[in-house]
């Protein structure tokens, strides 16, 4: 399937793309630098490449505001970039009244490692399980691949297990609402999958919503060519050819090594990797890893080996991106020295932050930016379990272990004393301790706040600038006064940045937690109302 080709029309011109790649990858491969025109008239291109930032919006088959990074090319598809959004050409009726009610024992949100492990364990325990995954195929960001491409070996066995488990998987399902059933006793999820609206009723829910990249603003970061570190990696995994691109990787965290290794493997010319953490923090971490988790050190060394001729500079960060229309160079600094490095791809990410919209919407307690859970991954809300990065970023092994625990617990089949259970708990607890050490080693240095100053754009959806936002006293005030956080990403990009820059908590989470058509909102909620009426009649 991945070997085939499809025909597309890009801005009216016929072109070919490899089957299974995303529209974002196809655009990059066709040499098209921009996707959309921003509120202030700038050309924008993918930043996160994983469905979070909405920078890659294009018009697909007459439908505006479609995320190129989440849409797989289809034969005959028409794609328009840099177009003024018009209302959809399609008839309205297909968005209304087309609600699919589904009921199950356990709903799992997120098809990354944690979600897949949870779905497997819950279904193997006899529960009726529905896994809702926004991606084209389960695997999350770590196992992201072209549609139809075989999963990496490490994950393929889990996919086999998922197939055998009896869990049903809904691909491309964006969950935009979640709430308690009326009368109480279960949970409701509303999701959009292509043209369908799913109204899901579940006795228990596992939230394995994963994490997104943290971005910090700096002048020029909106230029096409500046992406996230995970973002550049995701774009490549989705089928973009990066061979010959001149790249700089910067930001912080273990992800930089993985991203740099991916870019090297993709054939990009890697100029340097700038890690904002100080060399002595990294040395301390390496000593800790050497003593307690040598495998992680070996993994890191393996990544490093794949770009061994490229300098890796601790204590350096990006001060500015320069270019006329697209990226031409980044300016790096260590606080004293300044160097300009010509490049056409800057992969810049400041670690990962958990996706907490659904847990917060459901009322789950969070602390320091992560869901709070008990030993069996139960959140503070009875019947809601959280697993993986939702509970704090800790990597794939912890996610898998927590997914298994949560899945078993949600199926009411968790036996804490089992040998296997004890193994899972050990993996989780060891991994969580290690994650804390990583967080300390890669803590963001205060100088990064200075990089945001000047007239850098803070909110890319609405083009709210740093000076305008800095005049406000909190996130909600800034939102109302400058529109920061009012766009379709709903503050997912600027929220964590504002938290770091000013210490502001994000504004309230309200449904829909992802954009959804008005037709979908009306239909799903109406189905809920009808069901509520039916249930109360039955009980009356």
């Amino acid at each position: 399937m991945t070997s085939g080709r499809v025909r597309l029309r890009l801005n009216g011109r016929s072109t070919e793309a490899e089957a299974g790649v995303t529209v974002a990858a196809a655009l990059a491969n066709a040499g098209m630098a921009g996707c959309r025109i921003s509120a202030s008239g700038e050309v924008r291109a993918p930043l996160c490449a994983m469905g979070v930032c909405w920078e890659c919006r294009v018009t697909v088959d007459g439908e505006p505001h479609v995320r190129a990074c989440m849409t797989v090319v289809r034969d005959g598809m028409e794609v328009e970039t840099l177009a003024a959004p018009r209302a959809s050409r399609r008839t309205p009726d297909d968005a209304v009244g087309n609600v699919e009610p589904i009921s199950c024992d356990v709903a799992v949100v997120g098809g990354g490692p944690a979600g897949v492990a949870a779905a497997c364990r819950a279904a193997e325990s006899g529960a009726r399980v529905v896994l809702l995954d926004e991606g084209p195929a389960p695997g999350g960001q770590i196992y992201r691949r072209r549609s139809g491409e075989a999963a990496p070996e490490a994950f393929a066995s889990w996919l086999d297990r998922l197939n055998r488990s009896g869990a049903s998987v809904v691909r491309g399902a964006a969950v935009y609402d979640a709430f308690a059933s009326t009368p109480p006793g279960g949970w409701r999820l509303s999701a959009r999958a292509d043209e369908r609206v799913l109204a899901l009723a579940a006795a228990r829910v596992v939230l394995a919503t994963g994490a997104r990249e943290r971005f910090l603003p700096f002048p020029g970061w909106t230029l096409p060519g500046v992406m996230g570190a995970a973002g550049a990696q995701a774009l490549w995994k989705s089928g973009a050819r990066l061979a010959g691109r001149v790249a700089v990787v910067a930001g912080t965290g273990p992800l930089l090594l993985a991203a740099a290794a991916s870019l090297a493997k993709a054939g990009a010319r890697l100029e340097l990797v700038a890690e904002q953490a100080r060399a002595r923090s990294l040395a301390r971490l390496a000593a800790r890893l050497g003593a307690s988790s040598p495998a992680r050190l070996v993994e890191a060394a393996g990544y490093r080996a794949s770009f061994i001729e490229t300098p890796y500079l601790p204590g350096w960060w990006v001060a500015e991106a320069r270019g006329r229309g697209t990226l031409e160079a980044v300016v790096l600094t260590d606080g004293e020295r300044v160097v300009e490095v010509p490049c056409d791809l800057a992969a810049v990410g400041y670690g990962l932050v958990p996706n907490l919209e659904l847990p917060v919407l459901l009322g789950c307690e969070t602390r320091r930016g992560a869901a709070v859970v008990t030993g069996d991954q139960a959140s503070s809300v009875p019947g809601i379990f959280c697993a993986g990065e939702t509970c704090g970023v800790a990597g794939v092994e912890v996610a898998m272990a927590e997914g298994e625990i949560a899945g078993a617990a949600a199926a009411q089949a968790w036996r804490a004393g089992d040998t296997n259970s004890r193994r899972l708990v050990r993996v989780r607890d060891t991994g969580r301790r290690l994650a804390l050490a990583m967080d300390r080693a890669f803590a963001l240095r205060p100088e990064l706040r200075g990089a945001a100053s000047g007239d850098a754009i803070v909110c890319r959806c609405e083009d709210a600038s740093f000076p305008a936002v800095a005049r406000c006293a909190g996130a909600r005030e800034a939102k109302l006064a400058t529109r920061a956080g009012m766009g379709p990403c709903q503050g997912r990009v600027c929220g964590p940045a504002l938290e770091f820059l000013f210490g502001w908590d994000s504004d309230t989470v309200r449904p829909p937690v992802q954009p959804a058509t008005l037709g979908a909102l009306a239909a799903a909620d109406d189905a809920v109302a009808a069901n509520g009426r039916k249930t109360s009649e039955e009980s009356a």
């Binding site: 209302a87 309205p92 109302l480 379709p488 829909p512 058509t517 799903a524």
Partner: protein
């Protein structure tokens, strides 16, 4: 420190307008708000500046206020998103065409420009509406502003005339020419309670109750619709005092976004989204504008209109407390009537004669012989 002439409690659109008007008249003014300027009901408002004719008094105040907004238009900065969109009052059927005629006559009698549109003219004006609607009344001079920034801008005008703004300064009580705050008692020549939905908590006996509403905003679709669209049935549904109601009300924002309302319910200050009611609200809109079904909704919020029993605001002296004035209870018309309210209030404070009769808005009307609540 000398006491200000006037303390305004509440920096929403009404309080901000009062502060600007009083400062322009030469009074020394201090504005207190428990949060920040324009952060309460104002932040949740649609910002439709509209002439309404449910009653003679409502017509007089909205017409005066719209004129004042129009006079300010050239000074409003871009952040206030001022736009003369006009309003289309949509008649679904021939019965409602009769309402169009009556409404047109009432407006014309006051010298307010209107146009009667038949079915074909309505299709021409807004092609995305469904076929089969009977017509509309077009009120071309109605406008749209972005309320929180309009409130901020009015406050900045007041500050330019030496008014003092104190945000994050909750007022615990209002007394005889004084207010009690966490930082102590503040005295003034007079106090205006412009605390919106919180006004009744500060002035017991004030007949203001929060009336919750939902709004949904979409992504950007420039040119999708040009006028603020309101169903004529709104006149019936919006003012029913019983339980929940919805009405079709769609507004094109300067950004190209569509802002969709409206719902009304009395449920106290419960800020949760009422999903079935929101579904009814969208469903109502789909009956007029089926094409909105495919628009991408990016955010929903609720607000609390400060409602009064007779749908008129409370503007004037509160006679049971010396030095206390009220500018509250504007329900869903606070943005429209803020400027007229401020004009009436400052006229009364200074003993000037107003250009419209202020007596219908007196907060004491409840206690007058024949007061009906």
């Amino acid at each position: 420190m000398p006491h200000p002439d006037l303390i305004v409690v509440g920096a929403g659109i009404v309080g901000a307008a009062c502060a600007a008007e009083a400062a322009a008249a030469g009074l020394s003014v201090e504005v207190l708000d428990s949060g920040f300027a324009g952060g309460g009901t104002t932040a949740a408002a649609m910002g439709h500046v509209v002439v309404m004719d449910d009653s003679e008094a409502q017509l007089a105040l909205t017409a005066l206020s719209r004129r004042l907004w129009t006079e300010l238009a050239s000074e409003l900065p871009a952040s206030c998103e001022d736009e003369r969109t006009g309003t289309l009052w949509i008649a679904a059927d021939e019965d409602e065409i009769e309402l169009v005629r009556r409404k047109a006559a009432v407006h014309r009698a006051r010298g307010i420009a209107v146009e009667e549109l038949d079915a074909a003219a309505l299709r021409d004006a807004e092609p995305m509406l469904r076929e089969g609607l009977a017509g509309a009344l077009r009120v071309p001079d109605d406008r749209v502003v972005y309320p929180p920034n309009a409130a901020r801008w009015l406050l900045e005008r007041a500050e330019a005339r030496d008014a003092v703004r104190r945000e994050r300064e909750p007022v615990a009580a209002i007394g005889d020419r004084r207010v009690e705050t966490a930082s102590g008692t503040r005295h003034a020549g007079a106090v205006v309670n412009a605390a919106g939905a919180a006004a009744a908590a500060l002035t017991p006996g004030l007949p203001v109750a929060p009336r919750k509403g939902h709004l949904v905003i979409t992504d950007r679709y420039p040119g999708f619709c040009r006028h603020q669209l309101v169903e004529l049935g709104y006149l019936k549904s919006a003012h029913g005092r019983s339980s929940e109601s919805v009405a079709f009300n769609l507004q094109p924002r300067r950004t190209g976004q569509m802002l969709l309302g409206s719902s009304r319910e009395f449920v106290g200050l419960d800020a949760r989204i009422n999903r079935p009611l929101r579904a009814r609200m969208i469903g109502r809109a789909l009956q007029y504008a089926p094409a909105i079904a495919r628009l991408s909704a990016i955010r929903t919020w609720v607000g609390f209109r400060p409602a009064t029993p007779d749908n008129l605001p409370l503007v004037g002296r509160w006679e049971t407390v010396p030095g206390l004035w009220i500018a509250a209870g504007h329900e869903g018309l606070g943005v429209t009537t803020a400027l007229g309210t401020a004009r009436l209030l400052v006229d009364a404070l200074l003993g000037r004669t107003s250009e419209i009769d202020p007596s219908p808005y007196s907060p004491m009307r409840a206690f007058a012989p024949g007061g009906h609540w």
